[in-house]
Symmetry: C2
C-alpha cells in the first residue's frame, strides 16, 4: 500500500504522439477529507482513447486537461475516511478521479457499485463492458446506428472496449457483423470468442478487397471509432440509408498535419449524397439517462453468454503513461485497465 499519493500530471501538450515527457509524476501526501468529503483509494484506472483528445487545447466537446493538472480518467476505487453521509468506508465506487493513488471527493459524480457475485464479472468491468465504453457502444449503436435484423454492421477496433460490445450487440440484434482489427490474433478472437461473422486485419495489403468480399450486401451501419484506412475502405460500400455513428477517430488522434493527397473529402460527400447516409458524432454523456436500461440488459447478456469481454490488465500506476502511448498504437488487446492498488473483492 502506498504511503504517499502518486499523481500523473499533464506536463505538456503533445505535438503528435504523446511520449514519456508528456507526463510528470509527482508525489504528494495522502489527502485528508474535510467535512462532507471522502477519500477514494484507486483500485483500477481506465485508459481510453479519448484521453488523447483531452491533451489538446483545441475546441472540443470537453474542456482539455490543463497543463500541470492531474490527468483525467475513470476509476474504480474504495471509500476511505468518509465524512460524507452518503458513503461509508469500504464502499466501492466508480468515478472520474484521474491518474492518482488517492483522490478527495464530495460525492458528486460517484456511482456505488456492488461487490461481484460469485462467478460474475469483477468490479473492473465497471470501467469496461459495464461502464463508459459499454454504454458508449450500446447507446451509439442503438440510438444512431439503429441496426435492423439482416443488416450488415461493420465495426472497427473490433477487439477493443467499445468495438467488441458494438459487434456483440449487433449480433444480438440479428445483424451480419464484420469486425476490423489489427492483427490475426485479435481477428481470431473476434470471430471465435465474440461470434462476429468475420473479422479482417486492416494491416493486410488487400484489406479493401477483403472488406468488400465480407460485405456482399454492402454496409448498413458503420460504427466509426478509428477513421483512416478503415473509413476509406468503408465509404464505397455503403448501402442506401446507411448510418454512421461517429464515436472516435483513434487513427488520427496523433496526427499533426493533414495527410497527403488525394483529398478524399469529395469521396465521402458523394457517398453521403448518393446513399442518403446519416452520420452523427456523439459522446456517451448525451445518453447517461440510458445507463440503467443498459446495465440491466448488459448484465443479463453477460449471464447468458451473449456478451463477452476481455481485459488487458497492466500492473502499477507507474505504467499508465507507456500503456496509454501503446493503446494509441493499438498495442493493447482488450479493455485497458491499470491495477493501481489491491482489489479487496478478489
Amino acid at each position: 500500500m502506498q504511503t504517499e499519493n502518486r499523481q500523473f500530471l499533464l506536463a505538456e501538450r503533445p505535438n503528435g504522439a504523446p511520449t514519456a515527457e508528456t507526463f510528470n509524476m509527482v508525489t504528494t501526501t495522502i489527502p485528508e477529507p474535510g467535512e462532507g468529503e471522502l477519500r477514494i483509494r484507486t483500485i483500477y484506472l481506465s485508459l481510453d482513447p479519448y484521453m488523447r483528445g483531452r491533451m489538446n487545447a483545441e475546441r472540443s466537446y470537453a474542456e482539455p486537461v490543463a497543463v500541470g493538472a492531474v490527468m483525467e480518467g475513470g476509476t474504480v476505487g474504495v471509500v476511505e475516511a468518509s465524512r460524507h453521509a452518503g458513503f461509508a468506508d469500504g464502499d466501492l465506487v466508480v468515478g472520474r478521479t484521474g491518474w492518482q493513488d488517492y483522490a478527495l471527493s464530495d460525492g458528486e459524480g460517484l456511482r456505488k457499485i456492488d461487490p461481484p457475485v460469485p462467478g460474475g464479472p469483477p468490479i473492473s468491468t465497471a470501467l469496461g463492458v459495464l461502464g463508459m465504453p459499454g454504454l458508449t457502444a450500446y447507446t451509439g449503436l442503438l440510438n444512431i446506428g439503429k441496426p435492423q435484423p439482416g443488416e450488415t454492421l461493420v465495426v472497427a477496433a473490433a477487439s477493443g472496449a467499445v468495438g467488441s460490445v458494438v459487434g456483440q450487440i449487433g449480433k444480438i440484434k440479428g445483424c451480419r457483423v464484420v469486425g476490423v482489427a489489427g492483427g490475426l490474433e485479435k481477428c481470431r478472437y473476434v470471430v471465435d470468442e465474440l461470434g462476429f461473422d468475420a473479422c479482417l486485419d486492416h494491416r493486410a495489403a488487400d484489406f479493401e478487397d477483403q472488406l468488400a468480399a465480407a460485405c456482399p450486401d454492402r454496409i448498413d451501419v458503420y460504427f466509426e471509432n478509428v477513421a483512416g484506412r478503415v473509413l476509406e475502405a468503408v465509404i464505397p460500400l455503403f448501402n442506401f440509408f446507411a448510418r454512421m455513428p461517429v464515436c472516435g477517430l483513434i487513427a488520427q488522434y496523433n496526427m499533426t498535419d493533414l495527410p497527403g493527397g488525394p483529398n478524399k473529402l469529395p469521396m465521402l460527400m458523394r457517398a453521403v449524397l448518393t446513399n442518403r447516409l446519416a452520420m452523427r458524432g456523439f459522446i456517451v454523456r448525451e445518453f447517461w439517462s440510458q445507463q440503467d436500461e443498459f446495465l440491466q440488459e448488459a448484465v443479463q447478456w453477460i449471464k447468458d453468454g451473449k456478451l463477452k469481454y476481455k481485459e488487458y490488465r497492466v500492473a502499477g500506476l507507474e505504467r499508465a503513461p507507456e500503456t496509454l502511448i501503446g493503446l494509441l498504437k493499438g498495442e493493447n488487446f482488450g479493455k485497458v485497465v491499470v491495477e493501481v492498488s489491491p482489489d479487496p473483492t478478489q
Copy 2:
C-alpha cells in the same frame, strides 16, 4: 409551333464536364396517344444540377439515363389529344417528360396545376420555387436542418433555385442567414432582394476569413449543395450539435479524379466528432408526402412578400445543352427554365 418532335438524347457518358458531344438531337414525328394516353406539349423545361449525376453510370439513388435515351427533366406542359379520362385538352401539367417538344404519358406522375392568378407567379414556377427545387429546400431544411430561432444558417449557391428558398425560409424561421454565391452581383441580390443577413463571394481570395467573420456565433446549420471550397471553409466553424443536410455537390459533379492533397477527410471527421455534428444526404423524393403542406405555406409566403424567386429564362429547346453546361459552371443567375413552346397563360 413545331411540326416535329425534337428530342435531346444522351449521346455518351461525359468524362468530366459535359460538352456539345454529350447530347444528340434527333427529330421524330409528333407522337399520337393510344387509348388511356395523352400527349403533352412541353412549355417549360427545367434544368437542374442533378442532371449531371444522371449522366453517370455509377451507382446512385436514381437509375442513370441510358445512352441513347431522352434526357430526363421536369417540365410544365399542356395536354393535347387526350385519350385519358383524367385529363382534358388544355390542362396544364407538371411532369418528368424530359428534353423534348412532345411526350406521351399514361398520366402516371403528372400533376395538374392551375393557371396563374392575376399578378401571381407564372406556371414556370411549378419547376422552381413552387416545384421540385422549392420542395427540396423546404423539406431538407426543416426535416434535417431543423433551424431554430437565433441560430446561424449558411447556404451555398444562395441565389440558385434551392439555396434562395433555403435562406428565405431560414429568415422566416428566425435564423441569421449567411449566403455564399459566385460573384458580387449575385451576392447583392441575395442580401438586397432576398433579405439574407450577409452573402459572400466564394471567389474572393479571403473568402474563408470573410465567412468566419460573418458567423460570429459559428454555424448551426449548413445546407450543403455545393461542396468544394465552401464546405472546406464551413467545416472549422460548426457549432456543437450542428446539422448538415446534404442536398447536392455541384462543385464536384464534373470531377474526374479526386483533387490533390492534403486529404481533408480527417478534418471533417474531427468536426463531426467534436461537434456531434449530424450530416445526412437526402433527395426530395423521400419527402413527396410533404408537398401539399409545402405548397400551402410557400404560396402564402410569396403573397406576403417573404419568399421571392428569380428565373433565368432561356428561349428555345435547342439551347438546353449549352445552358446545362453553363449551369454546372454557375453561369446562371436564378432558376434555369428553358422556354420550349409558347405559354398559353401569358
